[in-house]
Amino acid sequence: MSAIRVDADGPVNQMESIAAENGIVRGGIWVLIVAEPCSLRNSLQALLATMPRLRVIQVDSIQAAWVAIECYHPALLFVDLDLPGDEVQHLLRQLSARAYAVRSILLANDVQQQKWAEAAGADMVLLKGFPASRLTATVGRLLP
């Protein structure tokens, strides 16, 4: 292995920067759904899968979301507010602090949660039970 070079500007950095700049891997835009396994998550994935260019990943915790964000550089993030509120808030703050190029849509159970999510810095909040047309319009507005 003596021929192996340590090159800070080598292929890894180049590839990671390409992915990070574009949020795109092989012709698609990654969308991350963070929610416990439930019919909402699967229905959301099914709806998003019908939209051209979108590649959907689903994970069931904020911790797993971080790993997925670092791996795939998603352009859009859906977060279910059934997850712990402090973790969701921490996620939003860190995304903002690190200037990740990711837009967030929070899925709220009621108006109170909706107000909380807006104050926490979500780009958009959807009340569960939203029609498919609302989802399509929201995604279209937030994605490049």
Partner: protein, 192 residues
Amino acid sequence: MAEERSGSDPAREDQGPAVRALIAALHSSDGMERTEARRLLVRIGRPAVYALIAGLSSPSKRMRWEAAKALAEIGDPIAAPALVIALEDNEADIRWLAAEGLIALGRSGLAALLGALMGSDTSVWRREGAHHVLHDLARGELHDQLAPVLAALESVHPDSQVPQAALVALSSLQESAPSQARLGPSAPVTRK
């Protein structure tokens, strides 16, 4: 505690220079060197997965092949969505490796695969790769959940039948899944 939840991965940062060097070695024209680099990347596990996922998008066929091979051997569920994309690689041997990687992930790779089958723009290669994976996994305890998806893939009109079958299978699998089998941040399984 906050830092632990912030997404920082100390192991990834510690291993950064080594991973970069090993990834660079995957471009080598020397097959022995590539094999050794891949073996070491597999041993590193999760900290190498980030770069290997990026490697699947490389314009270099050699890089994509090595990345797919390494990811299949590492067996980290976070690579499943990238392996699903690699089912549509232009190179048949890379598509095959991606399918083998998803088979190795077993249940924990199925959310990504079934999710990708819900779309209306599913390519023939993606369906072929999915068939390869599901045919293998359906031989075991997942037969009841996966057999309808296989039947849909083999049908005359897969475009209309596969998305619904995939959604039903995914819901069924999640209802019966042990929590450690979900796609998540669980410790990577490194096979020896």
